[in-house]
């Protein structure tokens, strides 16, 4: 069976990417399978776990709940896009390591995207605001406390817009 293909064009981590995709291809599958950006993780595939969170036009969204055709013309930032220009880890990523905020690492890209969006809006969030911001992201390892610690750590040492 051949499905009709649709042309999509979007900025992904500030690079123009174009492809012909079936309408039912989700944004997360487009990122991982078509563009080979495998930092974004596929978890539940129905909007529960938050592992696939990316920034779409600046706002954190679940990339499993968006078809790639819907994101046509948009701008996507994935976890790969949060590295420093020299390719080393950003402040939030460093803070996650420092505070032991990951064990298996499956939820980590989504957590860091959610935290990045929070710190962009609110550079000095309270603990309650941090917990609200990551409320849509499940972690089965840490019990969340170290993740909250890591985001607080990053908010204290964030350098000019690079998370």
């Amino acid at each position: 069976m051949s499905e009709r293909l649709y042309r999509v064009s979007m900025l992904v981590n500030a690079q123009r990417r174009e492809a012909e995709v079936p309408a039912r291809l989700t944004l997360v599958d487009f990122l991982r399978d078509t563009l080979r950006l495998t930092g974004t993780h596929t978890g539940c595939e129905h909007g529960i776990c938050g592992a696939c969170s990316v920034l779409l036009d600046g706002a954190p969204v679940r990339s499993c709940l968006i078809y790639a055709v819907q994101a046509d013309g948009g701008s996507v930032i994935t976890i790969e896009g949060l590295a420093r220009p020299d390719g080393t880890q950003g402040t939030l990523q460093d803070s996650f390591c420092e505070a032991h905020a990951l064990q298996c690492g499956f939820c980590t890209p989504g957590m860091i995207i959610a935290a990045h969006a929070l710190l962009n809006d609110n550079p000095a969030p309270s603990e309650a605001q941090i917990r609200e911001a990551i409320g849509g992201n499940l972690c089965r390892c840490t019990g969340y406390q170290q993740i909250v610690d890591a985001i607080q750590l990053a908010s204290g040492k964030r350098d000019g817009g690079i998370a």
Binding site: E45, V61, L65, A117
Partner: protein
């Protein structure tokens, strides 16, 4: 989990979307934010042959005041069906005139889903525990449905028929939601719910809006219960009983008892019918107190 194959059409006007619906009928589904529809499609509970994308339609993005300075009737704020939930949280007009909707949104999903999910999408999805449908019923909002032939107004209280079943026809598109805004009164509102985890579907929810006069007497009250019936349930008969009272604690407890008797909840894996009825009573009492305090 992957959706079944479908064809995609991005409408550039509402008329074009309605023409597509007229052509494809029940084979087509509208998509805006997709935060309810895409999971349904992933689980193949929904298998539309066509998706008509209305997310970018300017006509469905407006939040407008339709005040009538002469009439003594309520003011009206109209919200376009494709307005994202996160926009309501920030929009100055919505915040000033629809405080109950703002309070409800704190309970809707998570940051990531509110950034994408729309006001209209939640209404047409019609989950019986959803917050936005409950607010439309409690405030007695009017829903404007469009099709290729024109517009039809349906009161929210007549729109929700059963879980995920509404009065909308396959060829219709929800275009806007017109919320009454109570004029010239000191208004307080509250929304509360109990769910297994914050952001999960509510086991039971309740909300209330009250208006008090200068002496603290209740001149108007509206309230309702979600998650405890096949559809969101406004309780105008309880609201009428509260008008004219001082909204003292005794009156509120009596109203909560009466409200819990008006619902007929089902039990399921998550909560028994008796527990849902208990939650309804507790939550109605809580929202009436909070709404009263919100005024003072």
């Amino acid at each position: 989990m992957k959706a079944a194959p479908f064809e995609y059409f991005r409408a550039s006007t509402l008329a074009e979307a309605c023409a597509q619906l007229a052509e494809h009928g029940a084979d087509a589904k509208l998509i805006a934010g997709g935060q309810s529809l895409v999971p349904m499609m992933a689980m193949r509970l929904a298998r539309p042959a066509w998706l008509i994308d209305i997310r970018r339609l300017e006509e469905l993005q407006r939040i407008e005041s339709r005040n009538d300075p002469v009439s003594s009737a309520d003011d009206v704020v109209s919200v376009g069906a494709a307005v994202r939930q996160c926009v309501i949280e920030r929009d100055p007009l919505a915040r000033a005139s629809l405080p109950l909707l703002g309070r409800a949104l704190k309970w809707v999903g998570h940051v990531q889903t509110r950034n994408r999910g729309t006001v209209g999408g939640s209404i047409v999805h019609a989950d019986p525990s959803a917050e936005i449908p409950l607010v439309t019923c409690v405030l007695d909002a009017v829903l404007e449905l469009r099709d290729a032939a024109g517009a039809t107004d349906v009161p929210a209280r007549e729109f929700f028929l059963a879980p995920m079943v509404t009065a909308i026809a396959p060829e219709q598109c929800l275009a806007e939601i017109r919320f009454p805004v109570w004029k010239g009164a000191r208004v307080g509102s509250a929304f509360e719910e109990v769910s297994i985890r914050q952001g999960d579907f509510a086991l039971v929810s309740a909300c209330a809006q009250v208006a008090l006069d200068a002496d603290g007497k209740c001149i108007r009250a509206a309230l309702g219960i979600g998650g405890a019936s096949p559809f969101p349930q406004a309780l105008p008969e309880i609201g009428e009983r509260l008008a004219g009272t001082q909204l003292d604690d005794r009156t509120i407890v009596d109203a909560a008892d009466a409200a819990a008797k008006l619902i007929d909840p089902d039990g399921d894996l998550h909560a028994t019918a008796a527990y849902r009825r208990h939650l309804a009573r507790v939550l109605v009492e809580r929202v009436l107190r909070s709404a009263r305090e919100d005024v003072r």
